[in-house]
Assembly symmetry: none
């Protein structure tokens, strides 16, 4: 259902909902064994939980659409990911735990190498070490622009985040990265009338940066892309009348939860320590988002075996998750990351919902083909939140 209907129907209760997101959960069969990562892994706890749950497959965004982490999570948090887009600059800022404010415009930056004529010879500046990027970002912070604050944060290797902070900034800007070498970087160009002043500021920043970086051989230029503002989403805790807490090792996922208005627990540590943190905050929240990363990382590496091991690692946490005694416990994925593709994919993602009120189906294994026959069928991921709330007695009747 859409946010406004959810707001209308949401009603408080003392029930608890736990959403475990296994990043990149779904996969594809190995061409030799014809078994997917989930089918290959030994998952006694997950299979047992599936047997006590209602199962299905979620469609993260739409048929054939491969989601990034942003839309994949936003859908599970109840937002239509096609209506609420999270820009790359914002995600990049979230990924380094940057405290983005609603009027900020953020962009992803690459240091690059320019020749004497100002033409790009290396779009990644030879992947300079992060230590140098830290130093160069410190220098860039000294740049002064009229009326706005300039924030520059290193990411990794040649990558950094540029944030302009001030009133009246607009993110309708085309990237300065021409996506090829042998040409000059493009000037920042406004794609709407309102963004003209912001484009001028960005171009002035780039001009001064050239001076600041003039002593550098490799990192003497920069490319900016993904100009974006905080998406200003309706607050999920406010809409759903649930106190919501997020528990994630990595900053990107804490950032996404923060965009949704959740309270974000400190990051870092391990999956186990994040689960301990969740337990210690059991009385403080109604909705718990718990993020498990390793399955996606292994899939992205194209490492089938590592993904199998990551799933087995998650399986070992399932008993503890069940012992929390939530009224609704869900295991979901933000998207599939088949090792075969070494990247995200569009394939629907296994899902289970454990609750006293679930229609228990015949599925007693947690993998793609088993979940396909589950009682929930294949359904858009943006309905996960409302389904969970229904099972937790947190949605009123619609109509008399």
């Amino acid at each position: 259902m859409d946010t406004e209907l959810l707001r209308t129907l949401a009603t408080p209760n003392d029930t608890k909902i736990v959403l475990c997101v296994v990043d990149g959960l779904g996969g594809l069969p190995d061409p030799k064994t014809h078994r997917s990562e989930l089918e290959t892994a030994n998952l006694p706890q997950l299979d047992n939980l599936a047997g006590d749950s209602v199962c299905g497959l979620t469609l993260p965004v739409d048929y054939g659409v491969t989601p990034g982490s942003g839309p994949g999570h936003m859908a599970l948090f109840g937002y239509d990911p096609l209506k609420h887009e999270v820009g790359r600059g914002v995600l990049e800022a979230l990924g380094i735990d940057f405290d983005l404010q609603s009027s900020d415009v953020a962009a992803r930056g690459n240091f690059c190498t320019l020749d004497a004529e100002g033409k790009i010879t290396d779009r990644r500046a030879g992947r300079i070490p992060t230590t140098l990027t830290v130093e160069l970002c410190e220098r860039l912070r000294q740049i002064k622009l009229p009326g706005v604050e300039v924030l520059v944060e290193p990411v990794r290797e040649h990558r950094f985040v540029l944030v302009l902070r001030g009133e009246g900034l607009d993110d309708h800007l085309a990237q300065t990265d021409p996506e090829r070498e042998g040409v000059e970087p493009l000037p920042a160009r406004s794609t709407s009338q309102e963004a003209k002043a912001t484009a001028d500021l960005v171009n002035e920043f780039v001009r001064q940066a050239r001076e600041v970086l003039s002593d550098q051989k490799q990192a003497n230029g920069m490319l900016l892309r993904g100009f974006a503002k905080h998406p200003a989403l309706p607050s999920m805790p406010e809409v759903t009348r649930m106190r919501a807490g997020a528990f994630a090792v990595y900053p990107m996922y804490r950032g996404l939860a923060k965009l949704a208005g959740m309270t974000v627990s400190p990051g870092g540590g391990t999956q186990e320590s994040q689960l301990d943190a969740l337990k210690s905050r059991w009385d403080d929240f109604d909705f718990f988002f718990y993020h498990f990363k390793r399955a996606d990382a292994a899939g992205e590496d194209g490492d089938f075996h590592a993904k199998v091991l990551a799933l087995e690692e998650f399986d070992k946490l399932v008993q503890q998750l069940r012992e929390l005694g939530a009224d609704v416990l869900m295991v979901a994925g933000d998207h599939s990351t088949p090792a075969q593709l070494a990247g995200h994919s569009w394939h629907p993602v296994p899902f289970l919902l454990n609750s006293k009120l679930g229609t228990i189906d015949d599925v007693d294994q947690f993998h793609e083909s088993a979940c396909r026959t589950g009682a929930l069928g294949t359904f858009p991921a943006r309905h996960v939140l409302s389904l969970a709330m229904a099972h937790a007695g947190r949605l009123m009747k619609y109509g008399a």
Copy 2:
């Protein structure tokens, strides 16, 4: 996904996609045998292909909606058929290979019989022979209207196409056919302010036509319906960044492909010769639309056995289709045409997609009830194109 998102995500690749549309593919069980046309037919190649593919059922337009050929095909070409309507006049013009231009207004015409008071006594003019219609259309072409060109083309029996060509024409006109006898034909009436001048032109045409036809006993009047302009669809090749070629025996389907912006191979010949033409153009296109007609014709005739034979005839082409070596090979239908109904129907249509990246399911027969259990479930036909492009590595990730 909608056209604009598709345009954003589409990326070139060197992969090939083949879409075979078996017209009127789906059916209904014979009341005696309880087996549908597809279940009755002997389809070894299709069953084998289904075994190596991901299967499902497509919903051509919406629940309970029986599509005409226009919406049935437009959905498979990636358009939302409820947003992009192809008017009857346009379809009729396409059906005779008429080269419709973007400012033309086309209508379907019937010769009819009027009595001395101008009241309709036969809405089909006794189904006069086509030869007479050809002659009468020649006469009607002599009619002069101020500022517009008058084009009149015979179709079959009492049917013809009227096209007005000129600037500023508008197709918001109600039909002149009262759909019953014993009353006079209606005047052409504009349903929007902009169409008033066009209505006047049509009425002047009808007035002059009465004079031209005054020596006729049966075909002394006309009824016009389905006034429509070229729908000016976004170009499918442009949106998807694929060179698209259409291979069809019959003009209607070539016309629909042309509306979508595809390159249309010469028509006529046989299913085999069209397949040979497709093979000979293998290097020229990325996307191939291959149309197979006979299943629909047999269904329309209410001839269950003929439809079974038509499906078996298609089955014999499947091996050649597989040998093309496309990255994505699909077999779809534009709608169901159950022999039992002797017409199109709203029933979901069997679908298969063969690709290295498909989730192979347990379906190893190609018919309605088998495909229902496929991994794709029942899904809107307008997602077929984006699914195919995903499997062909032709869509970028959505969001970061």
